[in-house]
Amino acid sequence: MVALRSGSVDPRRTEIVYRDLGLSFIPHPVTKNVAVLKNEDAVKRAIRNLILTNKGEQVFDELYGGNITALLFENITPVTVIDIKENIKIAVKAEEPRATVLDVEVLATPDLNAIKINIVFRINDSPNASQLTFTVERVR
């Protein structure tokens, strides 16, 4: 699939280049099929999968992952925030060839034991930036 690796997508275009599954496997309310993610949504889902994977979690590829959930158990300090940002940038650069990270914002809310992450990225060859925002928190 060399064509796909070098493929590009413009969100304004209707051409579908990337197709993936949602990890939640929620069926489509009408067709009852598993939801299909396309283009920008597919890339966003992939980045989220990547960031939330801890190093050592992926079999036979112990360096894969953003290691964010592992860092949740650290004291939230400015240094930890920088670590999280760097981990995200490095992971996306290494593992997600479709996207280029433009900026990462990490908002720590220690009282809630949570971190809000906002990743601004650009899908390759697309003129527009995309944004992925999600919150991770400790559950124990």
């Binding site: 796909l4 197709r19 949602g22 993610l37 999968n49 894969y64 593992e95």
Partner: protein, 624 residues
């Protein structure tokens, strides 16, 4: 769906499994992101690949365990070996012999030391239990004492009883890994009310077993324990309901007790407390349970020989299989002897600890072989004899190619020499090639320009200092004698004959040995016909001599061999001894480091019993 309709299923590696799945699925149009590591599709493929990998590994392991060559688990190896009619050897208790002298206070007609009389020996602070293996009657002496040799074996005697129940069958499993199966005594009692017992024996030849044969079988079970089972009413008598199986056996410590020579005695022997004991044979023969590697090696050989002793290899396989404490063995037909002795097979064995087998052990091996070898062929156990190579090594090195000192270079050569001896010599049938030695020594450092070596061959023996004896010292090597009358191929250490001390041996160049003393720096010949030397065979004969004393631990005779390659013959084991190494700086042509005696194992080999093998039935004639 997929246009790549072929899915490769032969791969066992995770990455290639995943790659195959990717290639296969990329042909369909519904999804496309297989190539991106972070995609959900890729995560699903990881799970699928890992599961496939897991199954592949499991199946591969299962198939490995099905074959003797590739099996890793002991239970699998034992099971595969069972198909070849091979039962792995259990741990074996060491044996020793003790001479006992009992002085009774009264006048008994006989004294018997019962079986399982307890002794003990302490090794490295650990006390080990020893027992007499059988009941021994001591012999009455004119002075009122009773003497005898007690054979003792290491181990703790135990007894297990099982009641036969045909409706809910019992497995007769002995719950100790270190069980010595050779110690089994198995009886079956008729019932709890009827104490009549029958003794059962280990089946050795299935062709002699019928429905009434009182035999038992042994197997190692899945828990690495030994299980006894009996006949099915066709191949051996079948125990019936209510019978009581009584198994007496010992749990042993294997090799840990080999070499024990001091034994603490019980309070009384045969009921008498006034006694003395001396160790006549130190402990040997203790062995651990056969290893997986050994089972893999021996089982096919046992199957080949079918438990029959016909060829030389049959003897080697069976003796090594049944005796885990032997490090090397050689077998040859008597027709190869000089002179030939027809109708005999000679067996020479070297124990793992020590250099010579005890008479007790030799007899045990001999009787074990006798029941299986060809009729009319006698088995004779002979001791190993040692032939020592004395190399004089000269190493020339280029000082510009090394930063090491001459002494350090000399050390490297010493280490290499010791390593060479350990690797290539020390067992029966070894072949020593001088070129191989010098090449190996030269390879130890890149600064070595050349390594030269001259060798002498040495035999050592301990003469009987109180008895006129004949000694045949056989090197089995041609002696350097380029022309008749050549001198200087034989030397010896000093000894005493007929009150003349300081005697040395040499030869006249025509096959006659002479003795001489060194008086005022020159040889003073004392006996011009002390013995003979055969230059072709390397046989030295000293006939009817009383050598009343000798210098050092033994009498040593050295010859210069004709060739540079020395092949160990029959019961001969080659070692290196008395090696000297000189390192020479090639730039200055000066000797920079010399070592006179390298600590090879031949230096300290025990040869105490080398002269204990009588030849031709004569008690005063010894082959060395």
């Amino acid at each position: 769906m997929a246009t790549n309709s072929t899915l490769s299923v032969s791969e066992l590696d995770f990455d290639t499994i995943k790659s195959s799945l990717q290639t296969y699925l990329q042909g369909q149009t519904e999804f496309s992101d297989y190539n991106f590591e972070s995609s959900t599709l890729s995560i699903l493929l990881n799970v699928l690949s890992y599961n496939t990998y897991h199954n592949s590994f499991y199946l591969n392991m299962v198939s490995n365990e099905m074959f003797l060559d590739s099996a890793q688990l002991r239970t699998s190896v034992v099971s595969r070996a069972k198909m070849l009619n091979y039962t792995p050897r259990s741990s074996v208790g060491a044996t020793a012999a003790i001479d006992a002298v009992v002085t009774p206070g009264d006048s008994p007609t006989s004294i018997t030391v019962g079986a399982n009389t307890q002794f003990s020996a302490s090794i490295n602070g650990i006390s080990y239990s020893w027992v007499t293996s059988e009941s021994t009657s001591l012999t009455s002496q004119p002075n009122g004492t009773f003497i005898g040799t007690l054979n003792i074996v290491e181990g703790t005697p135990l007894q297990h009883r099982f009641t036969v129940n045909t409706t809910s069958p019992v497995r007769y499993i002995l719950p100790n890994e270190n069980t010595d199966t050779t110690s089994f005594t198995i009886r079956i009692q008729e019932s709890a009310a009827n104490s009549v017992t029958s003794t059962y024996t280990l089946v050795s030849d299935l062709s002699t077993v019928d429905s009434t044969s009182t035999v038992y079988y042994i197997q190692e079970n899945e828990d690495n324990l030994y299980e006894v089972y009996f006949g099915d009413g066709v191949f051996g008598k079948k125990p019936i309901n209510g019978n009581i199986v009584i198994i007496d056996y010992r749990v042993v410590s294997g090799t840990a007790v080999n070499g024990a020579n001091t034994f603490a005695t019980p309070a009384s022997l045969g009921g008498y407390s006034n006694f003395t004991t001396t160790t006549s044979s130190v402990a040997q023969g203790g062995a651990l349970q056969e290893t997986i590697e050994s089972v893999k090696f021996n089982a096919p050989f046992k199957f080949q020989s079918q438990d029959r002793l016909v060829t030389m290899q049959d003897y080697k396989n069976i003796i090594l299989t049944e005796n885990g404490d032997l490090s090397s063995i050689n077998v040859w037909g008597g027709e190869e002897n000089d002179p030939p002795i027809y109708g005999k097979v000679f067996v020479a064995a070297k124990p793992t600890s020590g250099s010579l087998l005890s008479n007790q052990k030799k007899e045990a091996i001999r009787s074990s072989l006798k029941s299986r070898n060809t009729l009319s062929i006698d088995v004779e156990m002979v001791d190993a004899t040692y032939l020592y190579i004395n190399p004089t090594i000269t190493v020339r090195y280029n000082p510009e190619l090394t930063s090491l000192s001459a002494a350090a270079l000399n050390d490297k050569v010493q280490t290499a020499l010791i390593s060479f001896e350990a690797d290539r010599l020390g067992t029966f049938g070894n072949k020593f090639y001088l070129y191989e030695l010098t090449e190996r020594l030269k390879d130890t450092d890149s600064s070595f320009i050349s390594v030269d070596a001259d060798i002498l061959l040495e035999k050592r023996f301990i003469p009987l200092t109180t008895e006129i004896s004949t000694y045949q010292i056989n090197y089995y090597q041609k002696v350097f004698e380029p022309h008749a009358g050549h001198l200087g191929s034989l030397t010896s250490t000093t000894f005493t004959v007929d009150d003349t001390s300081g005697l040395n041996l040499d030869h006249d160049g025509y096959g006659i040995l002479r003795t001489y003393t060194v008086d005022s720096g020159s040889k003073n010949y004392r006996d011009n016909n002390f013995g003979t030397i055969d230059y072709d065979t390397g046989l030295i004969t000293l006939t009817n001599k009383l050598i009343s004393a000798y210098d050092g631990d033994s009498l040593s005779i050295k010859i210069k061999p004709n060739g540079k390659n020395i092949f160990g013959q029959r019961n001969q084991i080659i070692l290196i001894s008395g090696a000297s190494i000189e390192t020479i700086n090639d730039s200055t042509d000066t000797s920079t480091s010399t070592v006179g005696l390298v600590a090879t194992s031949g230096v300290s080999t025990t040869i105490t019993s080398d002269n204990s093998t009588a030849s031709s039935g004569s008690t005063s004639s010894y082959s060395i």
